[in-house]
Symmetry: C2
Subunit: 119 residues, 2 copies
């Protein structure tokens, strides 16, 4: 059950695109497009996985993981993705913040502090 | 309304701690401690902000932002935070992934692609 929610990323370094957004109330085609974008992103070279959650108040965080910056740039250039972003800006999002970050270290749990070592 | 959900981060570079977690069902003191940790983190030197959301299925993402790695290390050494992490591992989380990343570029929206430029 947890397997589908967590991204199975490799050892760092790799990249993360942190997308925080507050949606307007109405769906206006959002659900279908969001699903399609998840599907399409997963087919891109350099895609490593995604983690996503949205609360009932409309605030959500989606983090997608990528091998390198080139993979992120290529995905940004995808025409269908560009159109979805345009609709996001004009129809779906009241506000969003997008941050591109280089993941430098990572660990998973629960493990005890001793097991986790200095990670 | 959106102001309280988004972290008002400065120009990059800065750091992000991406914490994805799946909680067990029962609260077992989680709510109070989570709130206290948010409050305590905000008092740490180098703290820049936090964004957090948890879905009804127990999966959540919390991203905290920090000036530098030293700030993250100092926060990790805080005794009350260490105790909360111990309880997280033993009582609250079925699984978690923690990733430390350096934010290299960022932009906010909605703005049109033209306004956003090459960001």
């Amino acid at each position: 059950m947890s397997a589908g929610k967590f991204a199975a990323t490799p050892e760092p370094p790799y990249y993360a695109v942190i997308f925080s957004s507050l949606r307007h109330g109405a769906d206006a085609g959002y659900g279908g497009t969001a699903e399609r974008m998840m599907e399409l992103a997963a087919q891109q070279p350099g895609y490593l996985g995604v983690e996503s959650v949205r609360g009932q108040d409309g605030f959500g965080i989606t983090v997608s993981y990528w091998r390198d910056e080139e993979s992120i740039r290529n995905w940004k250039r995808d025409a269908e993705h560009a159109e979805a972003r345009r609709r996001g800006r004009t129809e779906w999002y009241e506000h969003f913040e997008l941050r591109v970050a280089r993941v430098e270290r990572a660990y998973a749990g629960p493990r005890t502090e001793r097991e986790a070592g200095a990670a």
